[in-house]
Protein backbone atom coordinates (compact mmCIF):
# COMPACT_ATOMS: atom_id res chain seq x y z
CA UNK A 1 0.00 0.00 0.00
CA UNK A 2 2.79 2.39 0.97
CA UNK A 3 4.59 1.42 -2.20
CA UNK A 4 1.50 2.21 -4.29
CA UNK A 5 1.05 5.60 -2.64
CA UNK A 6 4.69 6.36 -3.33
CA UNK A 7 4.33 5.40 -7.01
CA UNK A 8 1.14 7.50 -7.28
CA UNK A 9 2.82 10.54 -5.73
CA UNK A 10 5.86 10.05 -7.92
CA UNK A 11 3.69 9.85 -11.05
CA UNK A 12 1.76 12.92 -9.97
CA UNK A 13 5.03 14.82 -9.59
CA UNK A 14 6.15 13.78 -13.07
CA UNK A 15 2.77 14.75 -14.53
CA UNK A 16 2.76 18.13 -12.76
CA UNK A 17 6.32 18.83 -13.88
CA UNK A 18 5.39 17.91 -17.44
CA UNK A 19 2.43 20.31 -17.40
CA UNK A 20 4.57 23.07 -15.89
CA UNK A 21 7.30 22.60 -18.47
CA UNK A 22 4.79 22.67 -21.30
CA UNK A 23 3.14 25.78 -19.89
CA UNK A 24 6.32 27.69 -19.20
CA UNK A 25 8.08 26.81 -22.39
CA UNK A 26 5.22 27.13 -24.77
CA UNK A 27 6.69 28.64 -27.87
CA UNK A 28 5.73 29.62 -31.30
CA UNK A 29 8.13 31.22 -33.73
CA UNK A 30 7.17 34.39 -35.43
CA UNK A 31 6.35 33.79 -39.03
CA UNK A 32 8.67 35.44 -41.55
CA UNK A 33 6.67 38.11 -43.25
CA UNK A 34 7.93 40.31 -46.08
CA UNK A 35 8.56 43.85 -44.97
CA UNK A 36 9.96 46.73 -46.97
CA UNK A 37 12.65 48.39 -44.93
CA UNK A 38 13.58 51.96 -45.79
CA UNK A 39 17.25 52.73 -46.23
CA UNK A 40 17.99 56.32 -47.29
CA UNK A 41 20.86 56.41 -49.75
CA UNK A 42 22.53 59.23 -51.67
CA UNK A 43 25.34 58.15 -54.01
CA UNK A 44 27.25 59.47 -57.01
CA UNK A 45 30.48 59.04 -58.91
CA UNK A 46 32.93 61.89 -58.55
CA UNK A 47 34.66 62.54 -61.89
CA UNK A 48 33.71 58.98 -62.88
CA UNK A 49 36.35 57.66 -60.51
CA UNK A 50 35.02 56.85 -57.11
CA UNK A 51 31.57 55.90 -55.99
CA UNK A 52 30.68 58.17 -53.09
CA UNK A 53 27.85 57.31 -50.74
CA UNK A 54 26.23 58.93 -47.75
CA UNK A 55 23.16 58.31 -45.67
CA UNK A 56 23.11 61.69 -43.92
CA UNK A 57 20.49 63.32 -46.08
CA UNK A 58 17.83 65.95 -45.48
CA UNK A 59 15.16 67.15 -47.80
CA UNK A 60 12.89 69.81 -46.47
CA UNK A 61 10.83 72.82 -47.41
CA UNK A 62 12.66 76.09 -46.98
CA UNK A 63 11.26 79.42 -45.96
CA UNK A 64 11.39 80.90 -49.44
CA UNK A 65 8.34 81.02 -51.63
CA UNK A 66 8.36 82.45 -55.13
CA UNK A 67 5.27 84.48 -55.96
CA UNK A 68 3.95 85.67 -59.28
CA UNK A 69 5.21 89.06 -60.33
CA UNK A 70 3.10 91.85 -58.83
CA UNK A 71 0.81 89.30 -57.09
CA UNK A 72 1.84 88.49 -53.56
CA UNK A 73 -0.91 85.89 -53.17
CA UNK A 74 -0.19 83.66 -56.17
CA UNK A 75 2.51 81.15 -55.32
CA UNK A 76 4.52 79.94 -58.26
CA UNK A 77 7.12 77.74 -56.56
CA UNK A 78 8.10 76.62 -53.12
CA UNK A 79 11.78 76.25 -52.42
CA UNK A 80 13.03 72.89 -51.08
CA UNK A 81 16.51 72.22 -49.76
CA UNK A 82 18.38 69.01 -50.42
CA UNK A 83 21.38 68.44 -48.15
CA UNK A 84 23.73 65.48 -48.24
CA UNK A 85 26.70 65.30 -45.90
CA UNK A 86 29.46 62.74 -45.88
CA UNK A 87 33.07 61.85 -46.52
CA UNK A 88 34.56 61.05 -49.86
CA UNK A 89 36.65 57.93 -50.35
CA UNK A 90 39.69 60.23 -50.13
CA UNK A 91 38.58 61.28 -46.68
CA UNK A 92 37.42 64.78 -47.52
CA UNK A 93 34.34 66.18 -45.82
CA UNK A 94 31.68 66.99 -48.36
CA UNK A 95 28.39 68.83 -48.22
CA UNK A 96 26.14 68.90 -51.25
CA UNK A 97 23.41 71.52 -51.22
CA UNK A 98 20.70 71.59 -53.86
CA UNK A 99 17.93 74.17 -53.89
CA UNK A 100 14.89 73.15 -55.88
CA UNK A 101 11.97 75.35 -56.80
CA UNK A 102 8.96 73.06 -57.02
CA UNK A 103 5.33 73.71 -57.90
CA UNK A 104 3.25 74.31 -54.74
CA UNK A 105 0.75 71.49 -55.46
CA UNK A 106 2.87 68.99 -53.52
CA UNK A 107 3.66 66.80 -56.50
CA UNK A 108 7.45 66.54 -56.66
CA UNK A 109 7.74 64.18 -59.60
CA UNK A 110 9.55 65.76 -62.50
CA UNK A 111 12.91 66.64 -64.03
CA UNK A 112 14.53 69.75 -62.66
CA UNK A 113 17.20 71.75 -64.57
CA UNK A 114 18.92 75.06 -63.98
CA UNK A 115 16.76 76.23 -66.87
CA UNK A 116 13.30 76.36 -65.34
CA UNK A 117 10.22 74.79 -66.83
CA UNK A 118 7.14 76.72 -65.88
CA UNK A 119 4.99 73.72 -65.01
CA UNK A 120 7.70 71.91 -63.07
CA UNK A 121 10.23 74.33 -61.64
CA UNK A 122 13.99 74.06 -61.66
CA UNK A 123 17.30 73.91 -59.82
CA UNK A 124 17.92 77.23 -58.14
CA UNK A 125 21.41 76.29 -56.97
CA UNK A 126 23.67 73.26 -56.80
CA UNK A 127 26.81 73.47 -54.68
CA UNK A 128 29.51 71.04 -53.68
CA UNK A 129 31.48 72.08 -50.59
CA UNK A 130 34.69 70.22 -49.79
CA UNK A 131 36.56 70.46 -46.50
CA UNK A 132 34.56 73.41 -45.35
CA UNK A 133 36.25 75.49 -42.62
CA UNK A 134 39.64 74.04 -43.50
CA UNK A 135 42.55 75.53 -45.39
CA UNK A 136 42.01 73.08 -48.23
CA UNK A 137 38.37 74.03 -48.60
CA UNK A 138 36.87 74.20 -52.06
CA UNK A 139 33.44 75.17 -53.21
CA UNK A 140 31.85 74.31 -56.52
CA UNK A 141 28.69 75.67 -58.08
CA UNK A 142 26.75 75.18 -61.28
CA UNK A 143 28.79 75.57 -64.43
CA UNK A 144 26.65 77.99 -66.35
CA UNK A 145 28.28 77.05 -69.63
CA UNK A 146 26.89 73.48 -69.51
CA UNK A 147 23.77 73.99 -67.43
CA UNK A 148 21.62 71.99 -69.81
CA UNK A 149 23.42 68.80 -68.80
CA UNK A 150 22.74 69.23 -65.11
CA UNK A 151 19.50 67.73 -63.88
CA UNK A 152 17.82 66.25 -60.85
CA UNK A 153 14.93 63.91 -61.48
CA UNK A 154 12.42 62.90 -58.84
CA UNK A 155 11.14 59.66 -60.30
CA UNK A 156 8.72 58.57 -57.60
CA UNK A 157 7.07 60.04 -54.59
CA UNK A 158 5.37 58.18 -51.75
CA UNK A 159 2.92 60.68 -50.29
CA UNK A 160 1.85 58.38 -47.43
CA UNK A 161 5.39 57.81 -46.16
CA UNK A 162 6.76 61.17 -47.43
CA UNK A 163 9.51 59.56 -49.48
CA UNK A 164 11.13 60.39 -52.78
CA UNK A 165 13.63 58.66 -55.03
CA UNK A 166 15.37 59.65 -58.20
CA UNK A 167 18.67 60.42 -59.89
CA UNK A 168 20.85 63.39 -60.85
CA UNK A 169 23.82 64.55 -62.88
CA UNK A 170 25.75 67.76 -62.38
CA UNK A 171 28.70 69.60 -63.84
CA UNK A 172 30.12 72.07 -61.33
CA UNK A 173 32.94 74.60 -61.42
CA UNK A 174 35.19 75.90 -58.70
CA UNK A 175 33.93 79.22 -57.45
CA UNK A 176 37.48 80.62 -57.38
CA UNK A 177 38.83 78.87 -60.46
CA UNK A 178 36.21 78.24 -63.19
CA UNK A 179 38.60 76.00 -65.07
CA UNK A 180 38.50 73.53 -62.16
CA UNK A 181 35.44 71.46 -62.89
CA UNK A 182 33.97 68.36 -61.30
CA UNK A 183 31.32 66.01 -62.59
CA UNK A 184 28.84 64.22 -60.34
CA UNK A 185 27.54 61.35 -62.43
CA UNK A 186 25.38 58.27 -61.79
CA UNK A 187 23.78 60.18 -58.95
CA UNK A 188 21.06 58.25 -57.15
CA UNK A 189 18.94 59.09 -54.13
CA UNK A 190 16.55 56.60 -52.67
CA UNK A 191 13.97 56.63 -49.84
CA UNK A 192 14.67 60.22 -48.88
CA UNK A 193 12.20 61.42 -46.26
CA UNK A 194 10.87 64.89 -46.93
CA UNK A 195 9.45 67.37 -44.47
CA UNK A 196 6.70 69.81 -45.30
CA UNK A 197 6.07 73.05 -43.46
Amino acid sequence: MIYRVFILRFNLRIFTSFILILTLFSCQDKLEIFEIQRLPVFSYSLDSLNKETTDDINFYQGKTTIYEYDDGNSEVYKRYLFEAKGKTTKGNDVIINIELDIMPDGDFIGIYNPVYKFNTGGIHSFSFLENLNKETSKSYSLDNSVTSNTYLRIKRQNTSEFLILGDFFAVLQNDKDPSDKIVLSEGIFNDIYYKLN
Binding site: Q28, K30, L31, I33, F34, I36, R156, Q157
Partner: protein, 294 residues
Protein backbone atom coordinates in the same frame (compact mmCIF):
# COMPACT_ATOMS: atom_id res chain seq x y z
CA UNK B 1 -90.43 24.10 11.99
CA UNK B 2 -89.38 24.08 8.39
CA UNK B 3 -86.77 26.81 9.12
CA UNK B 4 -85.46 24.81 12.06
CA UNK B 5 -85.08 21.75 9.84
CA UNK B 6 -83.14 23.69 7.18
CA UNK B 7 -80.84 25.16 9.84
CA UNK B 8 -80.17 21.68 11.21
CA UNK B 9 -79.34 20.31 7.76
CA UNK B 10 -76.94 23.21 7.09
CA UNK B 11 -75.16 22.77 10.42
CA UNK B 12 -74.84 19.04 9.70
CA UNK B 13 -73.41 19.79 6.24
CA UNK B 14 -70.83 22.20 7.60
CA UNK B 15 -69.76 19.78 10.28
CA UNK B 16 -69.45 17.01 7.71
CA UNK B 17 -67.26 19.16 5.50
CA UNK B 18 -64.99 20.07 8.41
CA UNK B 19 -64.68 16.45 9.30
CA UNK B 20 -63.72 15.55 5.71
CA UNK B 21 -61.15 18.33 5.58
CA UNK B 22 -59.58 17.15 8.79
CA UNK B 23 -59.31 13.64 7.37
CA UNK B 24 -57.15 14.91 4.45
CA UNK B 25 -54.49 16.30 6.78
CA UNK B 26 -52.04 13.42 6.95
CA UNK B 27 -49.28 13.32 9.47
CA UNK B 28 -45.91 13.64 7.68
CA UNK B 29 -42.45 12.69 8.84
CA UNK B 30 -39.42 14.58 7.65
CA UNK B 31 -36.21 12.80 6.66
CA UNK B 32 -33.06 14.89 6.42
CA UNK B 33 -30.36 13.10 4.47
CA UNK B 34 -26.65 13.45 5.09
CA UNK B 35 -26.24 15.44 1.86
CA UNK B 36 -28.79 17.99 3.07
CA UNK B 37 -31.72 16.80 0.99
CA UNK B 38 -35.08 16.82 2.76
CA UNK B 39 -37.66 14.15 2.04
CA UNK B 40 -41.25 14.08 3.30
CA UNK B 41 -43.06 10.82 3.88
CA UNK B 42 -44.39 8.40 6.41
CA UNK B 43 -41.78 6.31 8.16
CA UNK B 44 -42.73 2.64 8.00
CA UNK B 45 -39.65 1.02 9.42
CA UNK B 46 -36.23 1.90 10.77
CA UNK B 47 -34.02 -1.15 11.14
CA UNK B 48 -30.30 -1.68 11.60
CA UNK B 49 -29.55 -1.18 7.94
CA UNK B 50 -32.36 0.71 6.30
CA UNK B 51 -35.01 3.33 6.69
CA UNK B 52 -38.25 2.56 4.88
CA UNK B 53 -40.86 5.18 4.20
CA UNK B 54 -43.81 5.87 1.98
CA UNK B 55 -44.06 9.03 -0.04
CA UNK B 56 -47.47 10.31 0.98
CA UNK B 57 -47.58 12.75 -1.94
CA UNK B 58 -47.84 9.97 -4.49
CA UNK B 59 -51.19 8.28 -5.10
CA UNK B 60 -49.91 4.71 -4.80
CA UNK B 61 -47.54 5.50 -1.98
CA UNK B 62 -44.70 3.16 -2.91
CA UNK B 63 -42.30 1.91 -0.28
CA UNK B 64 -38.95 3.59 -0.57
CA UNK B 65 -35.84 2.28 1.09
CA UNK B 66 -32.86 4.34 2.12
CA UNK B 67 -29.67 2.96 3.63
CA UNK B 68 -29.17 4.18 7.20
CA UNK B 69 -25.85 5.67 6.16
CA UNK B 70 -27.64 8.22 3.98
CA UNK B 71 -30.14 9.36 6.60
CA UNK B 72 -28.97 11.97 9.02
CA UNK B 73 -32.09 12.56 11.08
CA UNK B 74 -35.79 11.80 11.10
CA UNK B 75 -38.25 14.32 12.44
CA UNK B 76 -41.47 12.50 13.21
CA UNK B 77 -44.90 14.06 12.97
CA UNK B 78 -45.28 13.75 16.71
CA UNK B 79 -42.48 16.29 17.12
CA UNK B 80 -39.84 13.78 18.13
CA UNK B 81 -36.52 13.41 16.31
CA UNK B 82 -34.15 10.53 15.83
CA UNK B 83 -30.56 10.85 14.68
CA UNK B 84 -29.78 7.92 12.41
CA UNK B 85 -26.28 8.71 11.12
CA UNK B 86 -24.32 11.47 12.85
CA UNK B 87 -22.46 13.43 10.16
CA UNK B 88 -20.23 15.74 12.23
CA UNK B 89 -20.35 18.26 9.44
CA UNK B 90 -19.02 15.87 6.83
CA UNK B 91 -21.31 15.37 3.89
CA UNK B 92 -21.53 12.06 2.19
CA UNK B 93 -22.12 11.34 -1.44
CA UNK B 94 -25.73 11.25 -2.30
CA UNK B 95 -27.04 7.84 -3.18
CA UNK B 96 -30.55 7.61 -4.57
CA UNK B 97 -32.98 5.64 -2.54
CA UNK B 98 -34.19 2.40 -3.96
CA UNK B 99 -37.71 2.82 -5.17
CA UNK B 100 -39.63 -0.43 -5.41
CA UNK B 101 -42.08 0.98 -7.93
CA UNK B 102 -39.45 2.56 -10.10
CA UNK B 103 -38.97 0.05 -12.85
CA UNK B 104 -36.53 1.98 -15.02
CA UNK B 105 -33.56 4.07 -14.23
CA UNK B 106 -33.57 6.52 -17.10
CA UNK B 107 -31.22 9.21 -15.99
CA UNK B 108 -27.49 9.21 -16.56
CA UNK B 109 -26.85 11.26 -13.47
CA UNK B 110 -28.85 8.83 -11.36
CA UNK B 111 -26.64 5.95 -12.30
CA UNK B 112 -25.70 4.16 -9.12
CA UNK B 113 -22.40 3.04 -10.52
CA UNK B 114 -19.68 5.34 -9.33
CA UNK B 115 -16.71 3.15 -10.02
CA UNK B 116 -14.09 4.40 -12.46
CA UNK B 117 -14.17 1.42 -14.79
CA UNK B 118 -17.90 1.73 -15.32
CA UNK B 119 -17.73 5.47 -15.83
CA UNK B 120 -14.83 5.21 -18.26
CA UNK B 121 -16.89 2.99 -20.50
CA UNK B 122 -20.12 4.90 -20.06
CA UNK B 123 -19.08 8.49 -20.60
CA UNK B 124 -20.37 10.90 -23.15
CA UNK B 125 -18.93 12.07 -26.45
CA UNK B 126 -19.29 15.65 -27.55
CA UNK B 127 -18.64 16.79 -31.09
CA UNK B 128 -18.68 20.52 -31.63
CA UNK B 129 -17.66 23.30 -33.94
CA UNK B 130 -15.94 26.51 -32.95
CA UNK B 131 -18.08 29.24 -34.39
CA UNK B 132 -15.57 32.02 -34.21
CA UNK B 133 -12.21 31.32 -35.75
CA UNK B 134 -10.21 32.58 -32.87
CA UNK B 135 -7.65 29.84 -32.52
CA UNK B 136 -4.82 31.33 -34.53
CA UNK B 137 -1.82 32.35 -32.45
CA UNK B 138 0.52 33.29 -35.28
CA UNK B 139 2.08 36.67 -34.80
CA UNK B 140 2.81 39.23 -37.46
CA UNK B 141 -0.08 38.49 -39.79
CA UNK B 142 -2.42 41.19 -38.57
CA UNK B 143 -2.58 42.73 -42.03
CA UNK B 144 -3.33 39.43 -43.73
CA UNK B 145 -6.77 38.57 -45.00
CA UNK B 146 -8.40 35.37 -43.84
CA UNK B 147 -9.72 33.77 -46.97
CA UNK B 148 -11.11 30.40 -46.04
CA UNK B 149 -10.86 28.19 -42.99
CA UNK B 150 -11.85 24.79 -41.77
CA UNK B 151 -13.76 25.59 -38.59
CA UNK B 152 -12.29 24.26 -35.42
CA UNK B 153 -13.80 20.86 -34.68
CA UNK B 154 -13.66 19.47 -31.16
CA UNK B 155 -14.28 15.95 -29.94
CA UNK B 156 -14.57 15.58 -26.18
CA UNK B 157 -14.93 12.48 -24.04
CA UNK B 158 -16.33 13.07 -20.60
CA UNK B 159 -16.59 10.73 -17.68
CA UNK B 160 -18.55 11.14 -14.51
CA UNK B 161 -16.57 11.54 -11.32
CA UNK B 162 -19.62 12.07 -9.14
CA UNK B 163 -23.06 13.57 -9.48
CA UNK B 164 -21.77 17.07 -10.18
CA UNK B 165 -18.18 16.71 -11.32
CA UNK B 166 -17.09 15.43 -14.69
CA UNK B 167 -13.60 15.00 -16.07
CA UNK B 168 -12.85 15.06 -19.74
CA UNK B 169 -10.32 15.11 -22.52
CA UNK B 170 -10.65 16.84 -25.82
CA UNK B 171 -9.11 16.66 -29.27
CA UNK B 172 -9.33 19.49 -31.73
CA UNK B 173 -8.49 20.20 -35.33
CA UNK B 174 -8.73 23.33 -37.40
CA UNK B 175 -7.05 25.18 -40.21
CA UNK B 176 -6.75 28.74 -41.40
CA UNK B 177 -5.61 30.31 -44.64
CA UNK B 178 -4.30 33.84 -44.77
CA UNK B 179 -3.22 35.82 -47.79
CA UNK B 180 -1.46 39.11 -48.20
CA UNK B 181 -1.19 40.94 -51.47
CA UNK B 182 0.35 44.34 -51.90
CA UNK B 183 1.63 46.45 -54.74
CA UNK B 184 3.82 49.48 -54.08
CA UNK B 185 3.94 51.87 -56.98
CA UNK B 186 6.67 53.85 -55.28
CA UNK B 187 8.89 50.80 -54.79
CA UNK B 188 7.64 49.04 -57.93
CA UNK B 189 7.33 45.88 -55.90
CA UNK B 190 4.52 43.36 -55.98
CA UNK B 191 4.26 41.12 -52.90
CA UNK B 192 2.08 38.05 -52.44
CA UNK B 193 2.14 35.83 -49.37
CA UNK B 194 0.05 32.88 -48.29
CA UNK B 195 0.02 31.25 -44.87
CA UNK B 196 -1.65 27.91 -44.28
CA UNK B 197 -2.06 27.18 -40.60
CA UNK B 198 -3.11 23.83 -39.18
CA UNK B 199 -3.86 23.37 -35.51
CA UNK B 200 -4.07 20.20 -33.46
CA UNK B 201 -5.13 20.50 -29.86
CA UNK B 202 -5.21 18.18 -26.90
CA UNK B 203 -6.86 19.21 -23.69
CA UNK B 204 -7.97 18.05 -20.30
CA UNK B 205 -10.63 19.64 -18.15
CA UNK B 206 -12.82 19.30 -15.10
CA UNK B 207 -16.44 20.23 -15.40
CA UNK B 208 -18.94 21.19 -12.76
CA UNK B 209 -22.63 20.66 -13.45
CA UNK B 210 -24.65 23.39 -11.82
CA UNK B 211 -27.90 21.43 -12.01
CA UNK B 212 -29.41 18.32 -13.53
CA UNK B 213 -32.39 17.90 -15.79
CA UNK B 214 -33.23 18.63 -19.40
CA UNK B 215 -31.19 21.83 -19.29
CA UNK B 216 -27.82 21.35 -17.62
CA UNK B 217 -25.74 24.48 -17.20
CA UNK B 218 -22.09 23.88 -16.44
CA UNK B 219 -18.73 25.50 -16.01
CA UNK B 220 -15.45 23.91 -16.95
CA UNK B 221 -11.81 24.63 -16.34
CA UNK B 222 -8.82 23.02 -17.96
CA UNK B 223 -5.75 23.28 -20.09
CA UNK B 224 -5.32 22.94 -23.85
CA UNK B 225 -2.08 22.19 -25.63
CA UNK B 226 -2.04 23.40 -29.19
CA UNK B 227 0.38 22.20 -31.78
CA UNK B 228 0.48 24.51 -34.78
CA UNK B 229 2.07 24.01 -38.17
CA UNK B 230 2.16 27.02 -40.46
CA UNK B 231 3.53 27.05 -44.01
CA UNK B 232 4.34 30.38 -45.53
CA UNK B 233 4.89 30.77 -49.26
CA UNK B 234 5.58 34.10 -50.84
CA UNK B 235 6.79 35.86 -53.94
CA UNK B 236 8.24 39.32 -54.44
CA UNK B 237 8.25 40.68 -57.95
CA UNK B 238 10.67 43.56 -58.53
CA UNK B 239 9.02 45.20 -61.52
CA UNK B 240 11.90 47.57 -62.36
CA UNK B 241 14.32 44.70 -62.57
CA UNK B 242 11.87 42.10 -63.89
CA UNK B 243 13.04 39.86 -61.10
CA UNK B 244 10.95 37.48 -59.00
CA UNK B 245 12.00 36.07 -55.64
CA UNK B 246 10.12 33.16 -54.07
CA UNK B 247 10.28 32.03 -50.47
CA UNK B 248 8.94 29.06 -48.57
CA UNK B 249 9.18 28.86 -44.79
CA UNK B 250 7.51 26.79 -42.16
CA UNK B 251 7.10 27.09 -38.42
CA UNK B 252 5.96 24.59 -35.84
CA UNK B 253 5.21 25.29 -32.25
CA UNK B 254 3.04 24.49 -29.32
CA UNK B 255 1.28 26.65 -26.84
CA UNK B 256 -0.54 25.99 -23.61
CA UNK B 257 -3.90 27.63 -23.34
CA UNK B 258 -6.24 28.08 -20.43
CA UNK B 259 -9.66 26.57 -20.88
CA UNK B 260 -12.43 28.33 -18.94
CA UNK B 261 -15.89 28.00 -20.34
CA UNK B 262 -19.52 28.12 -19.32
CA UNK B 263 -22.31 26.48 -21.25
CA UNK B 264 -25.49 24.48 -21.32
CA UNK B 265 -26.28 20.88 -22.26
CA UNK B 266 -29.76 20.10 -23.56
CA UNK B 267 -30.55 16.44 -22.98
CA UNK B 268 -33.08 15.76 -25.70
CA UNK B 269 -33.10 11.99 -25.30
CA UNK B 270 -31.48 9.32 -23.19
CA UNK B 271 -28.53 9.11 -25.51
CA UNK B 272 -28.54 12.36 -27.37
CA UNK B 273 -28.29 16.02 -26.61
CA UNK B 274 -27.10 19.38 -27.83
CA UNK B 275 -24.72 21.78 -26.20
CA UNK B 276 -23.32 25.25 -26.53
CA UNK B 277 -20.69 27.06 -24.53
CA UNK B 278 -18.67 30.24 -24.51
CA UNK B 279 -15.39 31.30 -22.95
CA UNK B 280 -11.64 31.06 -23.17
CA UNK B 281 -10.10 28.44 -25.37
CA UNK B 282 -9.46 27.86 -29.03
CA UNK B 283 -12.80 29.30 -30.06
CA UNK B 284 -15.05 31.82 -28.42
CA UNK B 285 -18.33 29.98 -28.97
CA UNK B 286 -18.87 26.27 -29.47
CA UNK B 287 -21.96 24.47 -30.66
CA UNK B 288 -22.38 20.75 -30.98
CA UNK B 289 -24.02 17.46 -30.22
CA UNK B 290 -23.62 15.08 -27.32
CA UNK B 291 -23.93 11.30 -27.29
CA UNK B 292 -24.27 9.41 -24.03
CA UNK B 293 -22.82 5.88 -23.94
CA UNK B 294 -25.15 3.94 -21.70
Amino acid sequence: MKALFITFVLVLFVLTCSAQEKDTIVATDVIIQVDGEIVYGIIEEVNKEEVKYRNNLLPHEPLITLPRSLVYIISYSNNTTQIITPTFGKRKIRKTAFDENKLEDNDYEDDEENNLKYNLAHGSIKVGLGLTEDFSRIKGIEEFEKEEAFPLIHVDYQIKINRLFIAGASLGYGSNRYTYSSFSEYDQIDIYQEVNETLYSLGAFARYNIMSGFVRPYALLGLNFNYTVADNTGTIFFIDESKKVSTNTSIKGFKALLLARAGVDFHIGKKFGLYTDIGLGNSLVQLGVKFMLK
